[in-house]
């Protein structure tokens, strides 16, 4: 009622009755509204001056590099309004090729980690207190000056993480300027023996393993799918090879424990720890089979058959050596010789396409020598950057104690890890996503690293800090002409700044980082005979220690809740450590799942609950390195146990730390706890969730013929719908002619592949060749046992969503609204669908973390996120919510075993593993929809099973009625900052995807098929006045997948890959007997049994 607008009552005094009532009514309504709403009203503030490049609600992508371990992954950082919200693979990068793994995805949580150093710190009165950069750099400058003036600079030490790129060379240059020796490149996960053997044999640290050219892959504990070499590129190659089906290599894993790689192999030869060498020697003919059988504890017949297979494979052999055992170097050499003898080098082993590796990594001997020098008081100054040897070295080495004796210690790490917490000065580095840099990308290619956003905290890139120090010092200033590290990098790049800048958007540039930097000389080998692995004394067991597949052996990922929450791909345990023990041994010892076991060696002990695992030898226990941090931030502290406690300080011939540490005494402590695992039953109980087919039976799989398609052509209207949908899509859109009649036309066209008239015909025609050229001649259409009928697959292909509740459309109904295929919105023309190829899937779980990142899934397992056990007393066990099954992962990776049903009583290594990514199946006839009393879940016209969070009241009936159990409920206010269950403590909430709601407590949520991405591309296409292009976009899980196992798209349009794959002969629906018409099609895994043997499972 503002007077200056002239709306004041004119000519009358006071308030009119009408106005009064209006005001009262309006205020009353407003008060009621405000009072009744449970949602806080947010404020949107527009930019006064819009930053360059930034369009609100539109993402920018910056090609850069993340370093989560010694590899440097080429990624695209998705930036929204100046903040990185997600990391995606850079398709231009020769390594990642658009894929990304869980650790790399979690880089965002490293960037926004709430425990990161927020400013430089100096030690005052025994505590680290914040200070300014000027002060901190001044202190370091004085220390450097003192060291130099006292002549002690030559004894100073700089410990850096082992990393790719120009920085190591730059660092050495800087150190040299100050008269300090070259830095120590520390990597707790370094596989020195393998690298040394590879360099010696192939002249490349990590030759590319070309699985596609292989006929037989034999891995000697070489975990190329978890932490051997460069995981993502290897997994891409592996999946491509396995997708060749009939032409795919058979894989055999030789080792004491089935790692993820071992579970993906077709056969496991369970040798004693450290006796992989004996098998390699047998294969080279250097050891008689009987002796090898004696050493390895494997039946002679098995080894002889292996030898025959290796011989038969000829130059199709691809042998991979692992690391960690005492004779790792000898094993590496023997395996390399095996490859060379088979003629595999250059064919399956490709040194010419080697993956990059750090030029130099300190051997364990160097680290031990450093500890001795520190203990002797010979080291006046230590600088450490992103390496955490105080945690990631054997406790028996005593690094931390020695480190404390150094008079002045400086850390450049950006997180409060165990080492930097001991330092006197902390100069926190930028995160990789805030830094300039570069890294080797592949032969002749450099990946460029650029900041994707302004620094989150008051940190400074170490290289810049070092340049500043050097330029401030008159003796060194002359050597550092470049103003900062970026200028330094540009100057070094071939072609200079212009080329550099021009290629920055792509992220990759031709050239070499290590110009003139010679590869490290191979470590001199002791001439001693191969170390014979220790034999367990009476009552002892072999101990296998391996790096945690997600957290990393150096424990680097432990402070990222996504990685803590992501179940280990093998054990499915999260937020915890575990001890793998064979069921037979467990039965003998009376150990139940979750009973706490103590693993005691001469060096120390490790306590963790038992995980009863068929994939470990009965005389062996296996534990993972990486957990059990005493510090390192809120998410890492106190989670699990530290396996470095039990490690000895032995090293192999290449100077690598021996992990397979020999023997240990294993005993029950008497405690029992819940194993924090997402595993329900590890058996399918014959329910056909993860199905497989023997390679020999592939030909018998029924082809989806044109006739079959026609028989199940969708109901009226679909033919012309799809015709029009495709008219403008692509160059090969010849199907637009099929505009006329509906079902009949589709059927006719389907029979006529040549004309490619109808979409179904095209789909069926394209299909025979589509799945990786799987040539098969199954004219006989042999029905294999258990082969599900394909009767329902067409239900997927048809736009079934004629009706809100998934009923097949009533042809007589006139009012279908948006569900009418001819509705002007065109919404019902599409049927979003997904295919999951189990032959490709390795179970690596990158899709899960990608989903967490894209869809703002809360992590629920932190120790403070549990529920109250009694009023006021909280369940502070890590993973308490996960024990209750309350993890929120919209996509979960199920790991089912087949075979070995009597593992409790005997050792049965011949079990098969099925990894099944399980997400909302977007049923056409969804059981969740009719039971919701408020229509919070309903069917969209394009086949999505939609969940409306705002409408959900939380009856959870939908979840009860979901056969796949893929609906997740917000038990707590994970999105409410004032709750202890809050999942994104500031600034971790900066990584939330603004396109996706953060769900409130009390509502149900589930996989949406990344509906925000669907709608985004639809809107973009509409703005550009065009139809969607086939495979124009994909979901977050499919995009990340380093196996390319997941495909997403429009199944109603045969030009999309997913439409072709849905017609694959291996296609099936999970629980199709339930008539729910799922939109997710699984393609059967293909098992490759030994030639001439019938495996236990099919």
């Amino acid at each position: 009622m503002s007077t200056d607008l002239g709306s004041a009552p004119s000519g009358s005094h006071g308030v009119k009755r009408r106005d009064f009532l209006k005001v009262v009514g309006a205020t009353g309504a407003a008060t009621t509204l405000v009072g009744c709403t449970s949602e806080k009203v947010g404020r949107l503030i527009p930019y006064v001056v819009q930053p360059d490049q930034t369009v609100p609600s539109v993402s920018n992508y910056f090609a850069t590099v993340v370093r989560e371990g010694s590899e440097a992954a080429g990624v695209l950082a998705e930036v929204r309004e100046g903040r990185v919200i997600k990391v995606e693979g850079n398709p231009q990068h020769p390594g990642n090729r658009g894929a990304v793994n869980a650790r790399q995805l979690a880089a965002v949580q490293g960037l926004y980690n709430p425990d990161r150093y927020r400013a430089p710190l100096k030690r005052e009165g025994g505590k680290l207190v914040a200070t300014t950069w000027a002060d901190a750099l001044g202190i370091l400058s004085r220390q450097l000056g003192t060291a130099r003036s006292q002549g002690a600079a030559g004894r100073a030490v700089f410990i850096n993480q082992a990393e790719l790129g120009s920085f190591p060379a730059f660092l050495d240059q800087w150190l040299a300027a100050f008269g300090m020796p070259a830095h120590v490149a520390y990597d707790a996960d370094a596989q020195l023996a393998t690298v040394a053997a590879n360099r010696a044999a192939y002249n490349a640290a990590w030759p590319r393993l070309d699985f596609t050219a292989a006929r037989l892959v034999v891995s000697f504990s070489g975990d190329f799918l978890d932490h051997y070499g460069n995981q993502v590129p290897q997994q891409l190659d592996w999946a491509d090879a396995r997708a060749k089906l009939e032409g795919a290599p058979r894989a055999i894993y030789v080792g004491p424990r089935r790692s993820l790689t071992g579970l993906n192999a077709d056969e496991w030869i369970p040798v004693r720890p450290g006796t992989e060498l004996a098998v390699a020697q047998l294969l080279r003919g250097q050891l008689p089979a009987a002796a090898a059988a004696e050493q390895t504890g494997v039946a002679q017949a098995v080894l002889e058959r292996l030898a025959q297979e290796v011989t038969a494979a000829g130059n199709g052999l691809l042998a991979v050596a692992g690391c960690g055992m005492p004779n790792a170097r000898e094993l590496g050499d023997a395996v390399a010789a095996l490859n060379q003898a088979a003629g595999a080098v250059g064919r399956t082993i490709r040194p010419d396409q080697a993956h990059p590796a750090p030029a130099r990594v300190a051997s364990f001997g160097e680290v031990r020598a450093l500890v001795e020098r520190m203990n002797a008081g010979q080291v006046p100054l230590v600088m450490v950057r992103h390496a955490n040897p105080a945690f990631s070295s054997p406790a028996a080495l005593g690094f931390a104690d020695a480190f404390k004796k150094v008079p002045f210690k400086v850390s450049f790490s950006s997180v409060p890890d165990e080492t930097s917490e001991l330092c006197d000065l902390v100069l926190p580095d930028h995160h990789a996503l805030e830094s300039w840099g570069d890294a080797e990308a592949g032969p002749g290619q450099i990946a460029l690293q650029q900041p994707a956003m302004d620094p989150v905290f008051d940190t400074r890139q170490t290289a810049d800090a070092l340049i500043a120090l050097a330029r401030a010092d008159q003796t060194t200033a002359a050597r550092f002409a470049d103003r900062d590290y970026r200028a330094y990098l540009m100057a070094r790049t071939p072609g200079g700044a212009a080329t550099w800048t021009a290629n920055l958007p792509k992220g990759v540039i031709a050239g070499s980082v290590q110009q003139g930097a010679a590869a490290a000389a191979p470590v001199a080998r002791p001439a001693a005979a191969p170390a014979i692995p220790a034999q367990p004394a009476n009552g002892e067991m072999f101990l296998v220690v391996y790096p945690h597949a997600l957290i990393g052996g150096d424990g680097r990922g432990a402070n990222k809740p996504w990685l803590q929450e992501l179940p280990d791909p093998v054990s499915k345990v999260c937020w915890q450590s575990w001890v793998e023990i064979h069921p037979q041994t467990a039965k003998r010892m009376g150990v139940e799942r979750g009973d706490e076991l103590e693993v005691r060696t001469a060096q120390g002990s490790f306590k963790a609950p038992a995980f009863i695992y068929m994939g470990v030898r009965p005389d062996t226990v296996a534990i993972a390195l990486g957990q059990g941090h005493p510090g390192y931030g809120r998410y890492a502290k106190g989670i699990g146990s530290n396996a470095y406690a039990v490690l000895g300080t032995a090293e192999d011939a290449a100077g690598g730390l021996v992990l397979t540490a020999g023997t240990a005494r294993v005993s029950k402590t008497g405690n029992s706890m819940d194993l924090v695992s997402t595993e329900g039953s590890a058996r399918q109980h014959g329910r056909g969730i993860g199905q497989a087919v023997l390679v020999g039976e592939l030909g018998g799989l029924r082809e989806a013929t044109g006739a079959e398609n026609a028989a199940v052509a969708p109901q009226g209207g679909s033919g012309d719908v799809q015709g029009t949908a495709r008219e403008v899509t692509g160059p090969s859109a010849t199907g637009g002619a099929a505009g006329g009649a509906a079902g009949g036309a589709a059927a006719k066209a389907a029979g006529d592949h040549g004309a490619a008239g109808g979409e179904h015909g095209a789909a069926a025609g394209g299909h025979g060749e589509a799945p990786a050229g799987g040539g098969h001649g199954g004219e006989g259409a042999v029905e294999i046992p258990g082969e599900p009928s394909k009767a329902f697959l067409p239900g997927l292909r048809s736009p079934v969503a004629n009706d809100a509740q998934g009923n097949y459309g009533d042809p007589t109904s006139k009012d279908k609204g948006m569900y009418d295929p001819n509705h002007p919105s065109g919404a019902a023309k599409r049927r979003w669908a997904m295919t999951v190829d189990l032959a490709r899937c390795t179970g690596c779980s990158a899709c899960v973390t990608a989903c967490y990142s894209e869809n703002n899934l809360p992590t629920v397992g932190a120790p403070w996120q549990g529920r109250a056990l009694a009023p006021g007393a909280w369940d502070t066990r890590p993973g308490a919510n996960v024990v209750k099954g309350r993890e929120m992962s919209w996509i979960r990776l199920e790991r089912y075993y087949e075979g070995a049903l009597n593992a409790e009583n005997e050792f049965q290594p011949d079990f098969d593993t099925r990894f099944v990514p399980m997400m909302c199946q977007h049923c056409g006839n969804a059981p969740c929809e009719p039971v919701c009393p408020v229509y919070a879940t309903y069917h969209s016209p394009d086949g999505l099973n939609v969940q409306v969070y705002n409408r959900c009241v939380g009856t959870r009936y939908c979840s009860n009625n979901c056969p796949y159990k893929v609906r997740y409920f917000n038990w707590f206010g994970y999105g409410e900052p004032d709750r202890r269950q809050y999942a994104w403590p500031e600034p971790m909430n900066w990584a939330l995807n603004p396109d996706v709601t953060v769900r409130g407590k009390g509502v149900m949520e589930k996989c949406t098929f990344c509906v925000q991405r669907i709608r985004e591309v639809e809107h973009v296409a509409k703005l550009q006045n065009r139809e969607l292009n086939p495979d124009e976009f994909t979901t977050a899980c499919a995009q990340a997948c380093p196996s390319r196992a997941i495909q997403f798209g429009d199944a109603a349009d045969p030009q999309w890959t997913v439409a072709q794959l849905a017609n694959d002969r291996r296609a099936y629906h999970v629980f199709e007997q339930l008539n729910v018409f799922t939109a997710v099609v699984y393609l059967k895994k293909v098992s490759h049994p030994a030639p001439g043997s019938a495996p236990a499972t099919a």
Binding site: K884, Y957, K1001
Partner: protein, 484 residues
């Protein structure tokens, strides 16, 4: 009031088996005795205050659990997905079931002229109302956003958003609200002549005023009685289908889902039988102590209890057969998930709950084949507690093991209620008994008018009452209500 039961003048030979015959109250002489003794129970005693206090404390435990749960979220309960329903739904079905016996006794047995209902019907009907009131809370307690519960109601709104009438939960809303409305009305209508008695005896002017309003000006005229009898008959007929429909609808919550162990067409009759079974047990739990504490053994006689015990025995046999048929159907269906679930029900993870159920609901009630035990009130009371336990576990066995053992083995899980769940369970009993105890001291828990019908009427001038004029095939009221 209107019942076929006619007092037999003169000496009566007590007949032990009277299930379908008249009821005799040889210990009750005249109307004054009825009024005095029954209204006498309405004087508060120390024991009553103690019981009410306990009930209120229990209720407050539930209330504070609710505040706590709303603040923190449903995660404070023991839910372990995919066990998305737990103690709340179990307790909801339990209380709905309890209510059914009350309606059965007050309405169906009325229509069937079962005389033994007369003295226990008021207790049962009150129990129904309070049990439904209790049950009705649980769907709201159980949902994730209870402050949005009204979205389940079909209220007119500007956006034309309606509830999903396909959802059994919406059917529940209608079933429960209808049931609460009808049973409350039925209880109130039956109370009108009794309230008139209270009004006439009341000296406190405030209470007298309240009673006069509630009694709707009842003057005990013939015309009033005739209308009253017709209304009562009509309401009884109206309530009767609800006994069958409400629990059938509740059973649809399960039967309409495709979860193994739920997806069964036997559920509606099986649930109704179970409800009557549990409701009669609850009647025992309430009536037997009242009968003893208030020394009203001559009103609620052993003959009547004997008759109710036969109903319990019969429903137990029905429920027991349903249990066994479920196993047969599971086997006969040939669905692996179903077969595995039912095997698991008795021999798997949840074996103990299934055996509690089978012992309490199938085996123990077999004792009622013995007439001696049927007439032993101590045994009946103990048995009633076991049946209540068994019926709670019946719902447990339906809800928890089914959800924890579904199609997807990777999501098989374990469930254990938390203290919050238990707080609500305790709170529900507190809430129920709080209302019941308050009821016992405000209104007569035994129907004055109806009891007066079955005792020899006060003779006036040495002849019997007026001939029946109400018609309807049964003999109408003779002389009851009011103080003469």
């Amino acid at each position: 009031m209107a019942t076929i039961a006619r007092p037999v003048p003169g000496t009566v030979t007590p007949r032990p088996n009277i299930a379908s015959a008249d009821v005799q109250l040889p210990g009750v002489r005249d109307y004054e005795q009825v009024d005095n003794e029954i209204i006498g129970t309405m004087t508060p005693t120390a024991g009553w205050f103690g019981a009410l206090g306990l009930a209120i404390v229990c209720m407050l435990i539930g209330a504070s659990s609710w505040v706590y749960q709303i603040y923190w979220g449903l995660g404070q309960a023991g839910y372990a997905p995919p066990v998305m329903w737990g103690v709340y739904i179990i307790t909801f079905v339990f209380w709905v079931g309890i209510g059914h016996a009350g309606t059965l006794i007050s309405a169906i047995l009325y229509l069937f002229r079962a005389g033994f209902r007369t003295t226990i019907y008021r207790v049962s009907e009150a129990m129904t109302v309070f049990a439904v009131m209790t049950a009705g809370l649980f769907p709201i307690i159980h949902i994730g956003r209870p402050w949005k519960f009204f979205w389940l109601l079909p209220y007119p709104n500007w956006r034309l958003i309606w509830p999903n009438f396909k959802s059994p939960l919406v059917w529940d809303v209608f079933a429960i609200s209808t049931y609460l409305t009808i049973s409350t009305t039925f209880l109130y209508v039956g109370l009108i002549p009794d309230i008139a008695v209270l009004r006439d005896r009341e000296t406190n002017p405030v209470r007298k005023r309240i009673f006069s309003i509630l009694s709707l000006g009842w003057r005990n005229s013939d015309r009033e009685w005739r209308h009253f009898a017709r209304a009562y008959l009509f309401l009884a007929a109206f309530s009767t289908p609800l006994v069958l429909s409400v629990h059938s609808v509740v059973s649809f919550d399960f039967a309409m889902a495709l979860t193994p162990g739920w997806h069964a067409t036997i559920f509606p009759p099986y649930f109704v039988a179970g409800a009557i079974f549990s409701g009669f047990a609850m009647v025992w739990t309430i009536v037997i102590p009242i009968r003893r504490w208030f020394n009203l053994k001559h009103y609620v006689t052993l003959n009547q209890l004997d008759a109710t015990a036969k109903v319990v025995l019969f429903t137990s046999l029905v429920v027991g057969s349903a249990y066994l048929i479920e196993f047969f159907i599971a086997w006969y269906s040939g669905v692996p998930a179903e077969i595995e679930y039912f095997y698991n029900r008795v021999f798997g993870q949840w074996w103990w709950s299934a055996w509690i159920l089978l012992c309490c609901n199938m085996v123990m009630p077999m004792s009622l084949f013995s007439q001696k035990l049927r007439r032993n009130t101590t045994w009946l009371f103990i048995l009633s507690l076991f049946i209540n336990l068994g019926m709670w576990y019946e719902r447990w066995v339906i809800v928890v093991p089914s959800l924890s053992h579904e199609f997807e083995p990777w999501q098989w899980t374990h469930y254990m209620p938390s203290w919050v769940d238990m707080g609500f369970l305790v709170g529900s009993f507190g809430w129920f008994f709080m209302w019941f105890l308050l009821f016992t001291k405000q209104l007569p828990v035994f129907a004055l008018a109806e009891i007066k019908e079955i005792i020899p009427p006060k003779m006036r001038g040495g002849h019997h009452g007026e001939p029946d004029v109400s018609g309807g095939g049964h003999q109408g009221p003779v002389a009851a209500g009011g103080t003469h």
